[in-house]
Symmetry: C2
Subunit: 572 residues, 2 copies
Amino acid sequence: MSIENVIDAAMGRVPCELVLRNCNIVNVFSGEIEQGDIGIYAGQIVGIGDYDGEQSVDVEGKFVSPGFFDSHVHIESSMVEVPEYARAVVPRGTTSVVIDPHEIANVLGLDGIRYMLESSKYNPLNVFVMLPSCVPATQFETAGAYLRAFDLYPLIRDKWILGLGEMMNFPGIINNEPEVLDKVKMATNNYKRIDGHAPGLTGKELNAYISAGIYSDHECTTVPEAREKLAKGMHIMIREGSATKNLHDLLPLINEKNARRILFATDDRHPNELLDQGHIDYMLKEAVAFGVDPIEAIRMVTLNAAEYFDINKIGAIAPGYMADLVILDDLKDFQIADVYKKGQLVAHRGKLTIELSHPRNIFLRSSVNIKWLTPDDFKIKAKAKNIRVIGLIPKQIITEELILPAKIVDGYAESDIERDILKIVVVDRHNASDKISIGFVKGIGLKSGAIAQSIAHDSHNIVAVGTNDDDLIKAVIEVSKMKGGIAVVADGEVVETLALPVAGLISNKPLEYVREKADSLIRALKNLGATVHDPMMALSFLCLPVIPQLKITDKGLFKVDDFDFVDLFVKE
Amino acid sequence: MSIENVIDAAMGRVPCELVLRNCNIVNVFSGEIEQGDIGIYAGQIVGIGDYDGEQSVDVEGKFVSPGFFDSHVHIESSMVEVPEYARAVVPRGTTSVVIDPHEIANVLGLDGIRYMLESSKYNPLNVFVMLPSCVPATQFETAGAYLRAFDLYPLIRDKWILGLGEMMNFPGIINNEPEVLDKVKMATNNYKRIDGHAPGLTGKELNAYISAGIYSDHECTTVPEAREKLAKGMHIMIREGSATKNLHDLLPLINEKNARRILFATDDRHPNELLDQGHIDYMLKEAVAFGVDPIEAIRMVTLNAAEYFDINKIGAIAPGYMADLVILDDLKDFQIADVYKKGQLVAHRGKLTIELSHPRNIFLRSSVNIKWLTPDDFKIKAKAKNIRVIGLIPKQIITEELILPAKIVDGYAESDIERDILKIVVVDRHNASDKISIGFVKGIGLKSGAIAQSIAHDSHNIVAVGTNDDDLIKAVIEVSKMKGGIAVVADGEVVETLALPVAGLISNKPLEYVREKADSLIRALKNLGATVHDPMMALSFLCLPVIPQLKITDKGLFKVDDFDFVDLFVKE
């Protein structure tokens, strides 16, 4: 594809490779619908006009939009590799995503980031990358990698790297921590973007955070919060994820004056919602149902994203732009007929029409490295009568600290099925160290068996909950045997598993398989008595020591209000 | 100015250097007016909020806008050096300009560009530069420099260089001329912008031109033309210059859907209009009088320009942005009270309040190099009875070709005052070569004397018109003696001059002086009988061999429709 060839095609000196005829084109520049034929050559749009094409497709008056843009997503949350993710989202019109490979980077560091870059190649999806800014997220757990500015530096100029990912460490910014500001300067000095992550930050703290050069945020939960951030220069990414949903709360933010500063993002999307509800197409449909002008809504997932991330030639239907196109039946339900990527038909009526390059042979070392467990490792001697118990709160990721009497058997604290106080263990899975911490959790509801998984934000050690030590240890070992994943064990037998051999986070199987296995795991857990809505998701947040109140990492029980570790046993 | 200090100030840990209190802030992100105090530290806005300042200024509810942006201007047209230009436009609220030093580059090449960069330093004006793309503009005249991609390459990555200037050579683009595309690739490969210049280009030719990566245009003269270009991805710069005025014709283009893609530019601004009418402030006033929303209008000269040129941290009032601020009495007449540049008060009520660095000692060689003239050089032997005469058309830069009988004296063709057919000569002033061409022009109206000037688009050779050879030659020599400029001579005496020693285009005197001298030159010419509206401007376009119909360069008479040189004498 040379510029000369494209000019020749635009002039009509050579025929286009493809002409889409009778289009109702969504023109994101004029904000209007434009009738015409789109000439495409060498993957680029050469123009709208009277072109001859080697191939000609009559779209019969359907709407043609630029491909959609997800401005912030962790693909790891969908538990599939990039090609599988592409297979799910491309037929829904998404042709560009900006990923922050924060999860895999916490496990495998730069190898993880490179793996995501490498596995993104040759897919019908532009995968842009923001370098994870906070690996590890905290010092209170053992991560698989420690990425400082010095480590990220070799990647910052890569053309697929758009900047520095969500800067969760806002205390580090506003308190001028040198290591944090080094990362900021690395991005700024290379004219790259820095994404924000500043839930609830306001006033002078927000001013200071933005002053550092952080001009986006996807953590707004209310219109006033979003309004303040937008007025202060942040591009607002309205997020509709699986763990956190803000779309309907934030739609009233949008008006014709500020719309250009608003983008859409999914952040995380579990397999079931990706398959059942959709992706950016779902957000568009909801926005239009709410009353947002359809073209304005499409701008948020095309032009606005391209402008914020400073990406040329993507996000519009105009000469010189990449021919990433979505053919839509309407601009209300966003029913998608076809998707073209670089001028090639890649999806029709919800299905990819091309072969994926998956599975490609990308070397990635196994990421589960635990010490050789013995039956005694999960035993804990009672040091007092009362213990601190992590109390789940239904459908929230915050927890409460409960002080309850322990069930003590032969001098050891054990799970108490009657009172639903179950043993929870976290095992360092990165360094095969002795770091194993033991606590208790209330609210899971298991009556027998155990579950273990290698998904546990943000360091992704192995977390396990069980009614007895034998099942607990067997579940953890099963996760290790699978090179990561999720295992449910009962009465000494493995009941169900989902192997996640890529960093212990991602399956190497199709999305539908992952979804079925996840459903099957939940069914198995419910059969064992689980009462919590989504046991795996609940477990995945129990290690996150930045969300109140009582959490557990491989280093111990952590009380967020004290911002320090606390003893399991409460001295009288 | 370190990021750490700015964060400290934003947090309120150190006092701001300046706080502007009781502001009605034009928020270009939200599109709304916001009340508040603006904290400024180290030249940057740290935030809007309750800040303490070493200095505190109550603006008493006046409007505060980001400094204005002229998106495309040739400062040479104002005939003053950059500091003098800044003195004129900064008090009118302009704090950023994007210049294309095309005129000086045609004379002095890279030295000219570097001179503009150098003389822009330490002024209260951000002077961004687009590298001239078309030096020389054509092969039909002798320029002072030939800049190929290879020559421009060392400058393209400079932080003040935003890209490649107006690509006038659209035939070169759409016909894939390698030298032209090399320049385009140089800009594109360095992620820099390419400004367009494509009057009247439409359809496939426009598609091809844009496909090359050219995403702006400032040559639209009608709304339909602008609409097509905007829909195809061009940012439309609405121009109101001295030579060409499009503002009022294009204001109806603007609507709330497309406004984000519209910018304002002046292109060229002569001293009298700069002083009497103004700059971007004038365009804003006219736009608002027409009915454009004032905040939307301000966006066109702030945020929209910054976004198009990919300039961070200029063009808005928000944390981390440069404190380039305009304090306005109102958003209707755009009466400007004060201007702050990087947090420093630099202008009050139309006057700069700081000392300019002008004149700085920047070495620049003299640019007028003509052969040693003898009285015979301007004589022309009659070869036929009829001659081709350049016919001026009042107030237009196009001309007509007239075939008229020559006045022949002693075998030589001479000026005929009776019929207003005057001798015009063009002298190569770059290479001191023998290249002198002689023609005749009708419509100037001089009854005695002569005028010579070193401003003659685009190569800026010396052009002179006179009623007799003695005055003609004296005027040309006078221009040479001044190292360039404009000279009026009558009856062997120098009547009036304006020295332009900087490249023969720019004075080293104040703008007011230049304006007075220019007025005086016009008065002198009118006294000598001149009937044309602005004789110097008329002369300056007579050498431009791309505007129909009959023109003259140092290489000869040029007929634009034939796109070739023609003989002065018409054979029977």
